[in-house]
C-alpha cells in the first residue's frame, strides 16, 4: 500500500507546476469573458448610469424651476391681495365720505324744505287772516247797516253818507276798543 502511494506520488505532477493546457484554456475563457464585458455589459451599464445621472439632474432642475415658479406665483398673489385690500379700504373710505355728503345734503335740503313749508304756511295764514278780517269787516259793516236801518227805520240812500257813517262808526268802535284795551 505504502509503495503504491509512493509510486502514485512519483507519477503525479507537483501541484505548483502549471499545466500548460489549463493555462491556455483559462486564458482564452477569461479573454472571451472580458471581451463580452467590454463589448456589451460595461457600455450598457455606463449608458444606464449616464441616463440615470441625467434624469436625476433633470429632475432636480425641474424641481428647482417649479419652486421658483411657485414662489413667483406666491409673490404675485400676495401683491394682488395687498392691492385688493387697499382698494377695498379706499372704496370703504369713499363710500363713507359719500354717505356723509349725501347725509349733509339731505339734511340741508330737508331744512330748507321745512323752512319753506313753514314760510309758506305762515304766508297763507297771514293771507287768510287778512281775508277773514276783510270779510268780517265787510260783513260787520253790512250787518251794522242792516241793523241800524232796521233800528232807525230809515234808508240811507246816499252812498257817500252811508259809507261815511259806517266808517265813522267803525272808527268809533276801534277807538272804543282801543280805549277799553288801554283802560284794561
Amino acid at each position: 500500500m505504502l509503495n503504491k502511494a509512493m509510486i502514485l506520488a512519483a507519477e503525479e505532477p507537483s501541484p505548483v507546476l502549471p499545466h500548460v493546457g489549463e493555462m491556455i484554456l483559462g486564458l482564452v475563457a477569461f479573454l472571451i469573458l472580458v471581451w463580452v464585458l467590454w463589448k456589451y455589459a460595461v457600455p450598457r451599464f455606463e449608458k444606464l448610469y449616464e441616463e440615470r445621472a441625467a434624469k436625476i439632474e433633470g429632475g432636480i432642475e425641474k424641481a428647482e424651476k417649479a419652486q421658483a415658479e411657485a414662489e413667483q406665483a406666491l409673490e404675485q398673489y400676495k401683491a394682488q391681495l395687498a392691492e385688493a385690500r387697499s382698494e377695498a379700504a379706499k372704496i370703504r373710505d369713499d363710500a363713507r365720505l359719500e354717505a356723509e355728503t349725501i347725509k349733509a345734503e339731505l339734511r340741508t335740503e330737508a331744512e330748507q324744505e321745512a323752512s319753506r313749508i313753514v314760510a309758506q304756511g305762515e304766508a297763507q295764514l297771514q293771507q287768510q287772516r287778512a281775508q277773514l278780517v276783510a270779510e268780517l269787516r265787510a260783513d260787520l259793516g253790512r250787518n251794522s247797516v242792516a241793523l241800524a236801518s232796521r233800528i232807525v227805520g230809515e234808508s240811507l240812500e246816499d252812498e257817500a253818507r252811508r259809507r261815511g257813517t259806517v266808517d265813522r262808526f267803525l272808527a268809533e268802535l276801534d277807538a272804543g276798543a282801543d280805549g277799553a284795551g288801554a283802560r284794561n
Binding site: 500500500m1 502511494a5 502514485l8 506520488a9 503525479e12 505532477p13 507537483s14 501541484p15 505548483v16 507546476l17 502549471p18 499545466h19 500548460v20 493546457g21 489549463e22 493555462m23 491556455i24 484554456l25 483559462g26 486564458l27 475563457a29 477569461f30 479573454l31 472571451i32 469573458l33 472580458v34 463580452v36 464585458l37 467590454w38 456589451y40 455589459a41 460595461v42 450598457r44 451599464f45 455606463e46 449608458k47 444606464l48 441616463e51 440615470r52 434624469k55
Partner: protein, 263 residues
C-alpha cells in the same frame, strides 16, 4: 477517488496533492478534465448573467438588474475606481470586473454541491491570469503613459529617497515588480483554494472512514468530523470571496501604481 477505494480496504489513505489530479472526464486518453469544464462554465455563467441583466436596463432597476448592478458597482467603484483613480479607471472596468467575477465564480465552485472543486486550486488558471493578463497589462499601460524610460524610472527609482538607498531599493523594486508580483498574485489564490479544498476533503473523508471502518466509540467521532467539514465550508465560502476580491484589488492596484505619476 483513489483514496476512497483504498479506505474501503480498511486503511485510511489521507487525501493529498494527488487528490487534485482528477482523471479525464470521458475516460482514459481523453484530454478534457473537470477543472477545464468548470473554467469554461464559469465564463459562460458570468457572460450570460451580465448579458441577461443588461438586456433591458431601466433607470429604476428591478430585482435582477439590481443584483447585477450591485456586482458591477462593486467591481467598478469599490475596486477599479478606488485603486486606479477616478481619472483613468474607466478603460479597465471590463478587466477588473472580469477578474473579480471570474475568480469569484471559480472559487465558489469549491463549495457548490456536486461541482465541489475550486478551479483555481490548479495553479495554471491563476497563473494564466496574473502572468499573461495582469502582468503585461500593467507594464504596457505604464510604459504607454510615461514612456519606457519614464516608466522604469518611476518604478525603479522612486522619488524622495536619498541616492545611496537606490543601491538597495532598486533591486528590491525590480525583484518585486518585475519578477514576484505575477507569481505571488497567482500563488495567493492558488494556495488558499488548494489548502481549503484539502482541509474539506480531509474532514469529509476522515468522517466517512470513521463512520464506515472504525469500531464502537470511534464511530461517534465521525459526527465531529462532519460538523467541522460543514463549519469549514462556511469559512471556505468567506475565504473564496475574499480571495477573489484580493485578486481584483491587487491587479487594479498594480495598474494604478503603473499609471501614477509618482510612485
Amino acid at each position: 477517488m483513489g483514496a476512497l477505494v483504498s479506505a474501503a480496504g480498511g486503511e485510511f489513505n489521507p487525501p493529498g496533492a494527488g487528490s487534485f489530479n482528477l482523471p479525464p472526464l470521458f475516460g482514459e486518453g481523453t484530454f478534457v478534465t473537470k477543472p477545464m469544464v468548470l473554467v469554461v462554465l464559469s465564463a459562460v455563467i458570468i457572460a450570460a448573467f451580465f448579458l441577461l441583466a443588461t438586456r433591458k436596463l431601466s433607470v429604476v432597476p428591478g430585482k435582477f438588474q439590481f443584483a447585477a448592478e450591485s456586482v458591477y458597482d462593486f467591481g467598478r467603484n469599490n475596486i477599479a475606481r478606488e485603486q486606479i483613480g477616478s481619472q483613468d479607471f474607466r478603460p479597465f472596468i471590463p478587466l477588473i470586473l472580469g477578474l473579480f467575477t471570474f475568480v469569484l465564480v471559480n472559487n465558489i465552485f469549491g463549495i457548490i454541491p456536486v461541482v465541489q472543486f475550486p478551479t483555481f486550486s490548479h495553479i495554471g488558471f491563476p497563473l494564466a491570469l496574473s502572468l499573461l493578463v495582469v502582468y503585461p497589462v500593467y507594464h504596457i499601460v505604464g510604459m504607454r503613459r510615461h514612456g519606457v524610460g519614464g516608466y522604469l524610472k518611476n518604478q525603479l527609482l522612486p522619488a524622495g529617497v536619498p541616492k545611496p538607498i537606490y543601491l538597495l531599493l532598486t533591486p528590491i523594486e525590480f525583484f518585486q515588480k518585475f519578477l514576484m508580483n505575477p507569481i505571488t498574485l497567482a500563488i495567493r489564490v492558488f494556495a488558499a483554494m488548494f489548502a481549503g479544498h484539502l482541509i474539506l476533503m480531509v474532514f469529509a473523508m476522515g468522517g466517512e472512514y470513521l463512520l464506515l471502518e472504525a469500531g464502537g466509540v470511534l464511530k461517534a467521532g465521525s459526527a465531529v468530523a462532519f460538523a467541522f467539514a460543514i463549519v469549514l465550508t462556511f469559512v471556505e465560502a468567506l475565504i473564496q470571496v475574499i480571495q477573489a476580491y484580493v485578486f481584483a484589488v491587487l491587479s487594479a492596484g498594480y495598474i494604478g501604481a503603473a499609471l501614477a505619476a509618482d510612485h
